[in-house]
Amino acid sequence: MTQLPPPSAKKLGLVIDLDTCVGCHACVISCKGWNTENYGAPLSDQDPYGADPSGTFLNRVHSFEVQPEAAPAQLIHFPKSCLHCEDAPCVTVCPTGASYKRAEDGIVLVNESDCIGCGLCAWACPYGARELDADAGVMKKCTLCVDRIYNENLPEEDREPACVRTCPAGARHFGDLGDDNSDVSKLVAERGGFDLMPELGTKPVNKYLPPRPKDVTTPCAPLETVAQDGKGFAAWLDRALSALPGGAS
């Protein structure tokens, strides 16, 4: 199963808007909540109330600071989960076939009952998208909420990943990036969506939308002065008021 299937027509994935993400971590926790209760083993936490708390998360939000040459530094929040790569190195390295890419929609999954927990797939992933659960001993990763997006027990409108549903700022979009006419594909085209570490040839399905240019107030002509002081202002005011409807002509 670790052979990659031929590229599917349907490429489900996420589009993450770095212009809008406020770094609230909502997606991180809703993901943790959903995936603890659902797909496979719960995402466990070690020493949860102690000195060194550490648990399994499938989605984490980094933040970076960017210093332009001649403008104030910017801060960019940066959520990151599995990018469901088309050429997924994490799949081909897996010795057991537990890691696989679904032929029908391109979702990369781990079949936990086959996983020996060797960790090699996590080594192969450039993005840090896989975490070995210390309690279950199996590899965990973003499932693209495969148990939500097709779930017939959920109302149609809820058949989207937990992280997308919860994102308060609307910075996460889910859809078929294999379909040029899908909303997500259009968004990517419009906003110049890009790949992370394209040079590694993983061909991620998930795309990132760049932040819009910052600190460039719309250029507008400086305001013209109509009055320098209270007196001049009163005179201007009289003129201005008479121009208003109902004003003395």
């Binding site: 670790t2 060194d52 960017v66 403008a71 659960d133």
Partner: protein
């Protein structure tokens, strides 16, 4: 990368074990009877012990058999198959020597081929990883092979072979260190490609996603250990190559030979520790650490 003891022990001892098996299979020495048994026992203890050690870091060692299934794509799977085939073939070859004092030469050659194949597959597990630029280069398999064969020769008491191979290995190692330090920079992967934010300005990691640790940071980010790298490199060179070679070149003594082996093993363990500890995974970029 986190230098996990299980992996260090695994690569070191299975390398030595399969190196020795290679020379045994090739028939460089053809002991018989009880002495054959001892030779093979040493080789198998190293090779199998190493393999067993490698299962310690598995989350589910009881499912290890599943790891033989994906030979089409997975070097780890191939390694498993190669090692088992090699061990079986050479077991028969060895049995011939122990019980019948007969070398089944062809089987020996096949086994020898299997032994280097095993070492090669092991090395490819690391070499294939584009995510670790320091490993992703031809010196990695070359080094694994030279060390395995050199160490095997040392165990097999083949002084000349050993000296030549160890000198070659040391040279490749020095070259690997020299180039390795630049591999990350040369790989083309950096903060800019990792984040895509380079067009705006210089990118720096600000806050990590969690103030606590996580699997990724434990597994891939090992900044602390690297502080002593230079010193350890010198120690590894000394123990792994220089001392064994000197000990081999002075007039033969069993004590010296044993010391040479011990020194070499200590050296290779150090080398392997460095192999992991110095390797930087690209995911570290996201944490502003490598």
């Amino acid at each position: 990368m986190h230098p996990a003891p299980s992996v260090i022990i695994f690569t070191t001892f299975s390398g030595l074990g399969f190196g020795l098996l290679f020379w045994l299979g090739l028939g460089v020495i053809t002991p018989t009877g009880i002495s054959a048994f001892i030779w093979f026992a040493i080789a198998y203890v190293f090779a199998v012990g190493g393999l067993l050690a490698s299962t310690f870091h598995l989350g589910h060692p009881e499912r290890a058999l599943k790891a033989f299934s994906q030979w089409k794509t997975s070097w780890l799977s191939r390694e498993g198959i190669a090692s088992v085939v090699t061990l079986i073939v050479l077991a028969i070859y060895g049995a011939g020597l122990v019980f019948a004092s007969t070398p089944f030469v062809v089987l020996g050659w096949i086994g020898a081929l299997g032994a280097i194949a095993t070492v090669f597959t092991t090395s490819m597990i690391y070499t294939q990883l584009k995510t670790v630029p320091r490993w992703h280069q031809p010196t990695t398999p070359l080094l694994f092979l030279l060390l395995s064969l050199g160490g095997g020769a040392l165990l097999a008491g083949q002084v000349t072979l050993c000296v030549v191979l160890l000198i070659a290995a040391a040279a490749v190692q020095l070259f690997a260190w020299y180039t390795g330090d630049k591999r990350f920079a040369q790989s083309g992967t950096d903060m800019q490609t990792a984040t895509g934010l380079g067009d705006i300005g210089t990118v720096r990691a600000f806050e990590p996603p969690h103030t606590g640790t996580n699997y990724l940071m434990r597994e891939f980010i090992y900044v602390v250990g690297r502080k002593h790298a230079r010193k350890l490199q010198a120690i590894a060179l000394l123990l792994g190559f220089i001392i064994p070679i000197i000990l081999l070149l002075i007039p033969f003594s069993h004590i010296f030979a044993a010391l040479a082996v011990l020194s070499h093993i200590a050296g290779v363990l150090t080398l392997r520790w460095l192999f992991f500890a110095q390797a930087e995974h690209v995911v570290g970029l996201y944490y502003g650490k490598r």
